[in-house]
């Protein structure tokens, strides 16, 4: 029977299965960070267990780390303790840690692909829901909780009930100024934050094929916001080109690896549990207005009017969101003024994101009412951006240029919104309080965030490119 890429990877990783039970599947790559691992390592110690495959386990610090001068000790003692716990745990259990003093440190889902840890056909897990990012390489990658982190550390396996498959075909070509970020925001807007619950998404179609690897990562990154278990894009020549030569990518047997990777894409007549086709040729830049990643509209659109919503539960949610976000029903998106701009996060902090934002702001000044910052996804990206002079472009425009980490995406470190502050953010979640208690988050693409920094409000960046 013709197989999907998901089924090929799934079947390849079954260690043990019996009827009516979740299968035991093998994990090729386990990524670890400081927030969801301390209790897992404690569990190992308590039960006198070792890490089964330290060679397949890689760690970094990202959620809690300051993005300011890192030669200074971390001020927040609780954060410091958590980071020290990971350092001690990696030392004790023999795990490679790309720590604060490592030239490879960064957001875990940025450094995995950078280092070539992420490869087609792999199973990849991490105690973080945006693990779906790695699916851009044709890997089966998903987030797990701390108990499962402990399980993978101890056994290198995971019990998983087999999810269903959902193929999403994105047709046509994006207009200039419209990006992969807009595409995935639009998809979540269309199918809802539970539209893909229980499914592994496969993104296909001409719009997907034309994306480069960093853009594919942006799309796959937000699969979880549609409720998906994971999101995959089949590997192709672009994927192989990106991978060749990276630290952990096969070298002597590179050609053999590529031959194997070429066998992974879904077969022509493979059957999916669900399918959807969306035409994105006319897609406008998207802006989230509410407190969920599905509450999104066109930049040329308006804030919804609750009275026009028939379904009571939806109307209640919308009213509650508008109240929290302090937005007037029917207000044009382009009239929303912002206080802060955050260009960063595992969704959009890679070199191409920084380049596209820099192109927008070059020669212009950040509005006096706005405080803007750029947080590169990793130390490698930061160095590359500095070689290209992007940091100078941002600094001259009035942006802050920071060290790498998750930063204001979830504001666990000192980078937070104050109550009532409104942000244009290239991150992935706009839940209440996500970027700081009382903070009001609008999700957009890097270009849109850059343009908003200059004007102090949202604009249709298609007019600028």
């Amino acid at each position: 029977m013709a197989k999907t890429i998901f089924e090929k990877i799934w079947n390849n990783h079954i260690v043990y299965e019996e009827p009516d039970q979740p299968a035991l599947i093998y994990i090729d790559c386990h990524l670890v960070h400081e927030v969801t691992s301390p209790q897992a390592f404690d569990g190992l110690r308590l039960n006198n267990r070792k890490v089964r495959r330290p060679d397949l386990t890689h760690a970094t610090v990202d959620h809690n780390v300051p993005t300011t001068d890192r030669s200074l000790p971390i001020v927040d003692s609780v954060s410091r303790r958590q980071i020290e716990a990971l350092e001690a745990n990696c030392e004790e259990f023999g795990i490679e840690l790309y720590g604060l003093d490592s030239p490879y440190q960064g957001i875990v889902h940025v450094i995995g692909p950078e280092l070539g840890l992420t490869q087609p056909g792999m199973t990849i897990v991490c105690g973080d829901s945006h693990t779906s990012t790695h699916g851009a390489f044709g890997a089966l990658a998903f987030g797990i909780g701390t108990s499962e982190v402990e399980h993978v550390l101890a056994t290198q396996c995971l019990r998983q009930s087999k999810p269903k498959t959902f193929r999403i075909e994105l047709a046509d070509k994006l207009m200039d100024g419209v990006t992969a970020k807009d595409m995935i925001l639009y998809l979540i807007r269309k199918i809802g934050t539970d539209g893909a619950t229980g499914f592994v998404l496969e993104y296909a179609g001409s719009a997907i094929r034309s994306l480069d690897m960093e853009e594919r990562m942006t799309v796959c990154n937000m699969s979880i916001e549609a409720g998906a278990r994971a999101g995959l894009i089949a590997p192709d020549d672009r994927t192989f080109e990106y991978l060749e030569g990276r630290n952990f990518v096969p070298k002597e047997e590179y050609q053999e690896a590529v031959e194997y990777w070429k066998t992974l894409p879904s077969e022509e007549d493979a059957v999916f549990d669900r399918e959807l086709t969306l035409d994105i040729g006319d897609l406008a830049p998207q802006v989230s207005w509410g407190t969920s990643p599905g509450m999104v509209t066109d930049v040329t659109g308006t804030v919804p009017i609750p009275d026009t919503i028939e379904d009571e539960s939806t109307r209640k949610s919308v009213m509650s969101a508008l109240e929290y976000m302090a937005l007037q029903p029917g207000m044009p998106i382009e009239e929303i003024r912002i206080d802060r701009v955050f260009i960063g996060s595992c969704t959009n902090s890679r070199i191409s994101d920084l380049r596209s934002a820099a192109r927008i702001v070059q020669g212009k000044q950040v509005a006096p009412t706005v405080q803007a910052m750029v947080v590169p996804g990793s130390q490698q990206i930061k160095r590359q951006a500095e070689e290209e002079g992007l940091d100078q472009i941002f600094l001259e425009s009035g942006f802050e240029w920071r060290e790498s980490g998750c930063s204001m995406c979830l504001a666990m470190n000192p980078d937070t919104l104050s109550p009532g502050e409104r942000s244009a953010s290239t991150s992935n979640r706009n839940f209440e309080g996500r970027q700081g208690k009382g903070g009001r988050t609008h999700l957009v693409s890097p270009q849109m965030a850059a343009a908003a920094a200059i004007t102090g409000h949202f604009v249709d960046v298609r007019k600028w490119v």
Binding site: T36, S147, E148, H151, T155, T197, E253
Partner: protein, 198 residues
């Protein structure tokens, strides 16, 4: 883990859809390296005002729901971040059973690892429960996992569906890692046969 066979307890309502894990347990509490004590921080930004005073308008702060162990909620409960701290906070606060039309995947899975029973019920059935909770002081439910039944003292009896392996898992109080290590030979074998490119 303690086996879960049946549970009876006071019901508390949270009649909102898409309650995300950032609300269940805000990020600042994820810095903790312990597994316990998260109950104090459950729904922190909804339970407490900026001043630190409890917000009397928040459902779970109402005195009549103190001691509740069964939570009824709206669809897509637990969406967003994979943080297992969310079920830890719910459990530590006192909840053993969650009833909703739907749950987000990762959250649903995390519940079982912690002995919390999440049950999917139809929208209409839930609306009925919200009404009863509102109308009856001290409304409680008895949940029988063995027979997959929910009942109250007023004669209500609802059947619920649950994946058989999950039901068995909770009822036996199974330990995941112990179970898996029973298959260590299969893991060894898989590793021997696993194709690795160098």
């Amino acid at each position: 883990m303690e086996p879960f066979i049946r549970h009876k307890g006071l019901v508390a309502p949270l009649n909102r859809a898409n309650v995300d894990t950032d609300q269940i347990i805000p990020k600042q509490f994820l810095k903790r390296i312990e597994r316990t004590g998260f109950g104090d921080f459950l729904f922190f930004d909804w339970r407490f005002r900026s001043s630190g005073e409890p917000n009397p308008e928040f459902e779970l702060n109402r005195p009549e729901y103190r001691g509740a162990t069964v939570l009824i909620a709206g669809s897509n409960f637990g969406c967003g971040s994979s943080r297992e701290h969310a079920p830890w906070a719910l459990l530590d606060f006192g909840f053993r059973v969650l009833l909703a039309p739907s749950f987000a995947d990762i959250f649903y899975n995390n519940c079982f690892k912690n002995g919390i029973l999440p049950i999917r019920l139809g929208e209409r059935e839930l609306q009925g429960l919200f009404l009863r909770t509102e109308q009856m002081q001290g409304y409680s439910l008895a949940v029988d996992l063995e027979n997959q039944q929910i009942s109250d003292e007023q004669g209500l009896s609802l059947r619920f569906e649950i994946e058989p392996f999950r039901r068995e898992y909770l009822m036996k109080g199974l330990d995941d890692i112990g179970l898996t290590l029973e298959q260590v030979q299969a893991i060894n074998q898989y590793e021997l046969e696993r194709r690795v490119f160098t």
